[in-house]
């Protein structure tokens, strides 16, 4: 039976054109872009072609504002730490939010250990940051604000342009973690007005293990990886050319197909939300109803736990994701779900469903039917359900 992948947030199939380009790169004689001979020059040309494609995806003013990294986590670490260290003379205060991805949270924690002060802004019940709260948190010593564009657990999209207006006004750098947005929804760094932007390749059907960091020309940033002078001395290390080639092709396809992809996943999302009440009850949908990723649904199923739901759906060849404490490996409930004021119990029973171009309407029906059975079985086992009934 075909596996229904409703967990595109974690893994995306590579599009055929991306696969072909990467296989060519594997078989081809591509050298090290830093070498002075012809083999190296050829590699350098391929590298720069990919950079142009990615720069165009986010409308960077110049390709050299894009630095290739090993993925979203490295980009975020580089941005947070590199911007903080480089601008520490002006101050040591950083503003971020309560629902950032763990890579931001851990980086901020590390910076706090190194003497920086961190203020973390709470969010409303939809997961939105209030620009006013950001403005109020900014002090004389503030050098950096880091807020994510969209959240990977509940899909909520933040008022980035408004916040950028505030940071520009107060002359504070603004980094945006856009890992789940770039290539999925239109991202234009000129319109957004940000100083740095982190992204990864797999959300737009490129390979895992590759990402990028946009840094506006003129912004002071220290490198995370030091050694050679690759990436204009911003990120040392011989480039992952095979991965970067894949990312470049994926970027071109994302530019070409963005509108049709959004229409497709929106259709699936709307179908799921419309049909859900016919299959299960006692649930809630998380995130903002309007400012939300078109390809993500976060649903909290009362009285049952996330990992057990995922395992049972897996038995029916359906892949979804959960952020329950048990599934996280860290035995902690999701900080995102707790920040939007979900109870601990509801946070444990939350599924994250993310659609892709390969999903069909039949996939949605199969998922709903399997979910119906799974929820009934687990609720029969649950002491919480008895109490409620």
């Amino acid at each position: 039976m075909k596996i229904v992948n409703l967990d595109h947030m974690s893994a995306n199939p590579l599009l055929p054109e991306v696969q072909e380009a990467m296989i060519d790169a594997v078989k081809g004689n591509y050298g090290n872009p830093s070498s002075q001979h012809t083999i190296g020059e050829q590699a350098a040309e391929i590298l720069e072609n990919s950079r142009e494609s990615v720069a165009r995806l986010i409308n960077a003013a110049a390709p050299r504002e894009v630095v290739f990294t090993s993925g979203g986590t490295e980009s975020v670490n580089h941005a947070a730490k590199g911007l903080a260290w480089a601008n520490a003379e002006r101050g040591k205060h950083i503003v971020t939010s309560n629902i950032e991805h763990n890579s931001v949270i851990r980086s901020m924690r590390r910076l706090k250990m190194m003497g920086f002060q961190i203020t973390s802004i709470p969010v409303d019940e939809y997961g939105r940051v209030k620009p006013d709260d950001v403005a109020r948190a900014i002090r004389d010593e503030t050098i950096l604000v880091s807020i994510m564009h969209s959240n990977n657990e509940i899909g909520t999209i933040q008022p980035i342009e408004e916040i950028a207006g505030i940071t520009r006004d107060k002359k504070v750098l603004f980094h945006v973690d856009a890992v789940d947005s770039v290539g999925v929804v239109p991202i234009d760094v000129q319109t957004l007005g940000v100083d740095a932007l982190s992204f990864a390749s797999y959300p737009f059907y490129g390979p895992t293990g590759v990402g990028g960091l946009y840094v506006r020309r003129g912004v002071k940033i220290w490198p995370l990886l030091e050694g050679g002078i690759q990436e204009h001395s911003k990120r040392a290390g011989t480039e992952n050319l095979i991965g970067i080639v894949g990312m470049g092709v994926a970027a071109e396809l994302a530019i070409r197909d963005m509108e049709s992809r959004i229409a497709h996943v929106k259709m699936l999302k709307q179908k799921l939300l419309k049909e859900l009440p016919h299959y299960i009850d006692e649930y809630s949908i998380n995130g903002h109803p309007e400012h939300s990723l078109p390809n993500l649904v976060s649903v909290s199923l009362k009285y049952i736990e996330g990992e057990s739901i995922v395992l049972m759906l897996d038995d029916e060849n359906i892949a979804v994701s959960t952020r329950s404490a048990c599934a996280s490996g860290s035995l902690r409930a999701s900080h995102v779900l707790l920040s939007i004021r979900l109870s601990y119990a509801d946070a444990q029973g939350t599924l994250v469903i993310t659609f892709g171009v390969d999903n069909t309407e039949e996939d949605i029906v199969r998922f709903l039917e399997a979910l119906h059975g799974t929820v009934n079985t687990l609720r029969k086992l649950s002491p919480l359900y008895k109490k409620a009934v």
Binding site: E305, S308, L311, S330, L331, A333, L338, S382
Partner: protein, 170 residues
């Protein structure tokens, strides 16, 4: 991640349900760490004639509850008191390190149910379900850092090995 036996007990849990007018009921856990287990006992001649469970929790939690009822059913109260979380984990062919706390919970629930039975027999006040009790690792069992697998000493929430807090402060 899970052994065949764990998956079998998860997919086909034994003895799930409740017992009306049970002789002993034990409930432990809380949604904070994601597991809640309730055990119901039907006792005859100081033997566990019937035992049922209900669980809110992950694959390991459900498997542990199921296996526990299999280990306890038919045993005398004294024998059942001796069942430990280690017995359950062993019967399940092992659990991932970060799921061992689930087996603690299962053994706790059984012992709470036995205690409830004995309290009622002795005419003591019926104990309230311990739903609100925070789940504590107080059996001398080891806790492991979920990031680097290093052992974390009792009562400590900071992993020296990876320099990280094992407990998040909201």
């Amino acid at each position: 991640m899970y052994s065949k036996t764990v998956m079998d007990h998860f997919r086909n849990p034994r003895n799930s349900g409740t017992i009306e007018g049970a002789d002993g009921v034990g409930e432990v856990g809380n949604p904070l760490c994601g597991d809640i287990m309730t055990m119901y006992l039907d006792v005859e001649d100081e033997h566990i004639k019937d035992i049922r469970f209900q669980t809110f929790g992950c694959g390991a939690a459900i498997a542990v509850s199921s296996m526990l009822t299999e280990l306890a059913k038919g045993k005398s109260i004294e024998e059942a008191k001796k069942i430990t979380n280690k017995d359950v984990a062993k019967a399940l062919e092992g659990l991932p390190k970060n799921k061992l706390h689930c087996s603690n919970l299962g053994a706790d629930a059984l012992h709470m149910a036995i205690k409830d039975y004995e309290d009622r027999k002795a005419g003591r006040k019926k104990s309230e379900p311990t739903l609100s009790e925070p789940h504590e690792h107080d059996h001398g069992e080891k806790c492991y850092c979920p990031y680097c697998d290093a052992e974390i000493p009792e009562g400590v929430t900071f992993c020296k090995n990876c320099q990280l807090e094992a407990e998040d402060s909201r």
